[in-house]
Symmetry: C2
Subunit: 247 residues, 2 copies
Amino acid sequence: MFSSIWALENFVARLGALSPLSPDDVAALMRLPAEPVRLRGNFDIVSPGGGFDHAFLVVSGILARFVQLRDGRRQFTAFHMPGDIADIHRVATPLAGSALQTLSTATIVRVPANGLKALALASPALTRAFWTYAAVDAAVLSQWAVNLGRRDARSRMAHFLCEIGVRSEQSALGTRNEFILEASQSQIGDALALTPVHVNRTLKALRESNLIAVDGRIVRVINWPSLAAIGDFDPAYLQLDERQEAA
Amino acid sequence: MFSSIWALENFVARLGALSPLSPDDVAALMRLPAEPVRLRGNFDIVSPGGGFDHAFLVVSGILARFVQLRDGRRQFTAFHMPGDIADIHRVATPLAGSALQTLSTATIVRVPANGLKALALASPALTRAFWTYAAVDAAVLSQWAVNLGRRDARSRMAHFLCEIGVRSEQSALGTRNEFILEASQSQIGDALALTPVHVNRTLKALRESNLIAVDGRIVRVINWPSLAAIGDFDPAYLQLDERQEAA
DNA sequence: CGGAGTATTGAGGCGCTTCAAAGGCGGTGG
DNA sequence: CCACCGCCTTTGAAGCGCCTCAATACTCCG
């Protein structure tokens, strides 16, 4: 786990689950460059406003997509976890991507947008798969917006933890009941639009309600049904493979 | 204006500005069905959770994409204005669209997803244009999330009004300094995650600061630079045609 | 052992919500 | 034609959730 080959295989598997791929498509994807790069935490891979003609395969750690306000505060708009490709939109529109930073130390593979575009042009099935992948990304973003707009801190945190849990499970990084969240409370605050102080209090409340247990970066969900109910969490938007959902 | 032909031409023009189209592509798009349907306000075109194999071209009025919570509250995640196509994601993933409602009375054209998909498969340029269109939609959603998460009511409202103004101008529905916003204060609240009461107070404050004037559904921006500054508004994310931006 | 980032906890303040009520406006039917 | 009804807008008052400011402790790492 956490090799660039694993990450690529994981990505391809998820792509295939979203939209059928031929063996040729899979083979073409596996020929993508796979030179891993290690980055320190809180590193801006793509600065706000900076164009960049690469997409990024996450091998380990978490990449956060963000928008920065003039006063320097950041709002994270997505978390990209191992096995995800960040900013696949750039295949269609190289200039208009979001800014991107690491949370903790991370390993990534830089994939030239041209390479992906060439693949997409060569295979309609791949085009469709990329597009669907981007559509799921947009669906996650919708939920993120709902979370920010309509839920209080407790519910917002619960929904967030449920999402990370299910996505970790989806990529075989853990289970929804026990997973690693490589983010500081301050970074969680940038995702949920809460101050670090209130993130701390909210987590404490969830712990004291016996819903979760936190041990360093390991999150254990003690009562999944309750947590999901509090977060009003319905995993449908993640477009899980039915086989996974049955389990 | 406000004929289905106008709406389709407007959509095609914007698509072409995002990504070059051949005359054949344009001709193919213009052959799409254009049977307009009139709908009353607050009508759910696509219910939450409901699949639907159509996209919707807006001819008049506004369509709001939304997510509904269990308790019935809604969060709007996008406004689709005349000349927009709502839910173009369905071309790639028919099952996973968002719910969609009208704000006030609206006229739309239902476009079968299959028809769009057939066009996309026949022309790589169109595929790319659709995808780019969807990417802009996602960029708008990012800003929406930032708005909900990081700005107070005054700033949030200012950003919202700036976005609607620029998009109205983009589709020749008005100018950024004077445009029609076909939404009640309650609906604006569902977009900004504010109560109707606070929407009212916030608008009042903007009026009393001599930033805007409201006359029925007509919004006049008296001091655009100040409003944009308060809303921290930078139109770059809307991917305007450079010619428009120069003006 | 020192230092920086992170976690934790307390106290006070503000922005938005909730609850409540009245007035305006357009549409419909007697 | 106008009276009525529903929806929207507007305003007031009180409460609460989250922020801000502040201080202390913890942990990792050089």
